[in-house]
C-alpha cells in the first residue's frame, strides 16, 4: 500500500465508523463535507480531480462495513457526465453533484434492463434525490430527468437490507434539451465511462466486504473451541481459509492492476477490464460469504450475527452491474476478436 492509499483508507475508515449510526441525511452531509462526492469531478467544477484508483480505495472501505452510503450514485453520475461533451447543463450538474446533491442512479449495466421496457432497475437514491441519471444503451442516451409525477417510482425491498433499491418507470419522462446531456455517437464514451465505473464500484465493494468477513471468520475459528482445541487448528478448515484468502488477494490485485491500467490510458477495452474484475471479485465474495456462514456454524443463522448481511450483500452484488457469467463471456469475445485484429 502506498502512503497515499494508507492515509486515505484510514481517514475513510474513521469517517465511516463515525457516520455508521447517523441518520442517512446527516451521514451524507458529513461525507459531503469530507469531499467524497467531489472526489473525481474536475477542479474547475469544484472537484478534487482524483482518479478511479482513489474511488476504488473508498469503495473497498465502504464494502468492509457494508455501508449504505450513496457515494456510488454520485461518482457514477460524475464519471458519466464528465465523459459527455461540455455544456452549461452538464457542467451545472457536475457542480451540483460534487457539492452534495444526490441523484438516483441504477446499479445495473444499461445493456441489461432497458430492452425490457422503459424501466430502470436496482436504482439507489430515489428516496432522497430530486433527479435521476438515465443511461440508455440502445439509443444511446445520457439524461438527467426530474423525479416528478411523470416518473413512476416503486420501492423494491431486498434481502440485502444494507441497500435500498427502487424501480423507475421512465416511459413518460421527457427527453428534451432540458434533460438530455448527450445522445447518439456523442454518448458512447459516456456509456463506457458509466459501465467501467459501475463494474469497478461493485468489484471494489466485493473485495472490501470479502476481506472483512474472511477476517471475521478466521478470528471466530481461532476463538471457538471444540474437541479441546481451537477450530482453526483443523487442517480441513485451514485449507478452506487459505483458498478463500488466495481468492480475495487475487481479486484485489487484479482490480487495482486493471484500475491503474484504466487510469493510465482510458479506452473502450476498459469496459472489459472492469467486467473481468467484477466477475472475479463478486464470485470471490460470494464464495467467502457462503463459507463464512458455514464456518460460523449455527450462530450464522441468527439475525443478530452480521454474517448474513455479508451473504445477502454478496448475493445482490452478483446481480448488480452485470452477472459474472456475462462478464466472462464478454471478456472471451473481446479476446477472440482481438486475435482476429
Amino acid at each position: 500500500m502506498s502512503i497515499e492509499q494508507t492515509e486515505l483508507c484510514e481517514a475513510a475508515r474513521k469517517l465511516l465508523a463515525d457516520i455508521a449510526t447517523m441518520h442517512p441525511d446527516e451521514a451524507w452531509r458529513r461525507l459531503t463535507a469530507a469531499g467524497w462526492p467531489a472526489l473525481t469531478a474536475p477542479e474547475p467544477l469544484g472537484g478534487l480531480a482524483q482518479n478511479l484508483t482513489a474511488c476504488c480505495w473508498l469503495y473497498m472501505e465502504m464494502g468492509r462495513v457494508l455501508s449504505p452510503a450513496l457515494l456510488p450514485a454520485s461518482l457514477l453520475a460524475i464519471a458519466t457526465l464528465t465523459a459527455c461533451a461540455a455544456s452549461p447543463v452538464r457542467d451545472a450538474w457536475i457542480e451540483r453533484i460534487a457539492g452534495g446533491e444526490r441523484l438516483a442512479v441504477s446499479l445495473r449495466d444499461p445493456s441489461q434492463d432497458f430492452a425490457q421496457g422503459h424501466r430502470l432497475r436496482a436504482v439507489i437514491g430515489a428516496d432522497c434525490a430530486g433527479h435521476a441519471l438515465v443511461v440508455i444503451a440502445g439509443e444511446p442516451l445520457v439524461a438527467v430527468v426530474p423525479l416528478d409525477r411523470d416518473v413512476l417510482c416503486v420501492a423494491r425491498p431486498t434481502w440485502d437490507t444494507t441497500r435500498t433499491l427502487f424501480d423507475l418507470d421512465i416511459s413518460n419522462a421527457h427527453f428534451d434539451t432540458a434533460t438530455v446531456i448527450a445522445r447518439g455517437a456523442a454518448a458512447e464514451a459516456a456509456l463506457d465511462a458509466f459501465s467501467i465505473h459501475l463494474h469497478v464500484a461493485i468489484a471494489a465493494d466485493c473485495v472490501g466486504a470479502a476481506g472483512k468477513i474472511l477476517d471475521e471468520t478466521v478470528t471466530h475459528l481461532k476463538n471457538r473451541r471444540q474437541f479441546d482445541r481451537p477450530l482453526a487448528m483443523f487442517q480441513a478448515l485451514k485449507h478452506r481459509c487459505a483458498d478463500l484468502k488466495t481468492a480475495v488477494v487475487a481479486a484485489e490485485a487484479l482490480l487495482l492492476h486493471y484500475v491503474a491500467d484504466i487510469d493510465a490510458r482510458p479506452c473502450a477495452e476498459g469496459v472489459l477490464l472492469a467486467k473481468g474484475a467484477k466477475s472475479i471479485a463478486s464470485s470471490a465474495f460470494r464464495a467467502i460469504a457462503e463459507d463464512a456462514m458455514q464456518l460460523h456454524g449455527g450462530m450464522a443463522m441468527a439475525v443478530e450475527h452480521p454474517c448474513h448481511l455479508y451473504l445477502k450483500r454478496a448475493l445482490l452484488n452478483e446481480q448488480l452491474a452485470s452477472l459474472g457469467d456475462e462478464c466472462d463471456i464478454a471478456v472471451a469475445r473481446g479476446f477472440i476478436s482481438s486475435l482476429a485484429a
Binding site: 487448528m233 487459505a242 483458498d243 488466495t246 487475487a250 466472462d328 463471456i329 471478456v331 472471451a332
Partner: protein, 402 residues
Amino acid sequence: MTILPDRAELLRHDVRVWLAANMPTNWRAAMTGCSQERFVAAQRDWFSKMVAAGYATPHWPAGWPGGGQGLAEQSIIYEEIARADAPRLILYFVSLYHAASTLLEWATKEQATQHLSGILRGEIWCQGFSEPGAGSDLAAVRTRGERRGDVYVVTGQKIWSTMAQYADKCLLLVRTSSEGAKQAGLTFLIMDMKGPNVTVRPIRQITGDEEFAEIFMDGVVIPVENRLGEEGGGWGVAQSTLASERGLTLMELGRRMRGGLWRIASEMVQTGCTEDPLILRELGRLRTQIDALVALSDGFLKRRIAGEERAGDASVVKLYYARVLRAYTSLGLRISGLAGQYREDFTSGGSQETGNWAVDFMNSYAWSIAGGSDEIQRNIIAERLLDMPREPKAWRLAGGAG
C-alpha cells in the same frame, strides 16, 4: 517502479528486434518428438545467446549481464519473450532462479562469483531436496552428511530432481545431525554432479518424458567450502530456494501463459465451438485469472524489491498459478475432444502450454505437487498469513500403537 514510456518502448523494441534476429526458427517442430540429446544441445545454444544478450538474467542484480532491472523492465522482457514464443530455458530453470537466488542470499563473495559465473558459462544446476521419505515433510531428509575434517561425506538418495541427468551442480540438503528439531540438523551443500560416487537415474514420466531423475550418493566427498550458510542452518537456506521457485519464477510463467492463450482460442476455431457459451465463459474467466496471476506475481516482486515480502506471499502466487494452470490445460483438453486423447509427441522446451493438451494437463501436476504441494502452500498461507495455529506435533495411532 515506473520508467519513462520512451525508455520502456525502446527496451521493448530492442528485445523484439533481438528475438526476431536470434530466435531459432521452427524450433517447435524441431523440438517435437526429438531426442533428449538434441533438446539439450538446442537449450545450450539458446541459453548462451540469451545470456550474451542479457535476457536470461534480468532478475539478477546489477553488475551481471542484463541484471538490476526493475519490475517494469523485467515485465517488458518477459512479455516480449512470451510474445515471440521463444523456447523456455527449462534446462537452466534451477540455475537461473533457484541456484541464483540462493547464492545471492547466502553465498560468500567468492562462492557467489565462482558459481554465478559458472551458471553464465552454461553450468546446469539441479535441486536435491526431496527424498523417498521426505516429500511434503521436507525436514525429514535422511541423506547423511558426515563431517570429516574439511569435508562432508554424503550418503543417501534424492528424487524428483529436474534435469539432474544433465546437471553439473546440485543444491543439496543433507542431515548433519539428528539432535533436536528436525529442521535444526540440516545443512545446505553444493555438490559436483560429475564427481565420483554420484549416480543419476532418470525417471520415466506419465507423458513419456524423462524430465525428473533420482540421484544416488554413496560416500560423495564435498569440501566444507561448498557449504552455504552454517552447519545446521540448511533449513533457512532452503527457504530461499523455495521462495524463489514459488514467487519469482512466476513473473515469467504468468506472461508465458497469457502469451499462449491464443492456442485455446485457435482450438475453439478448429473444433467449431466459438459460440458455445459454456466454453466462452470459461475462456473469459481464464483470461481474467491469468491477468490476476500476473498482478499477483508483479505485486510479489514489487514487495520483494522493496524488502517488504511477507512469509506466505510467495505461496499465494504459487497456489494461484497451480490452480489456474490446471484450469487452463483442462479447458484445452476439453475443447480438443476425442482428438485430444490421441497420443502425440510432446514438444520439449515449450513451457507449460504447448497445445498438446493431454501432455500439458498431465504436466500441470508438476506445479501442484513440486516445490511444496498445493496442500503445503495452503498450510503456509493459513499459518503465516492468517496466523492460524499449527497442529500439535505429538501424534500416535489410536490405541497407542504408534
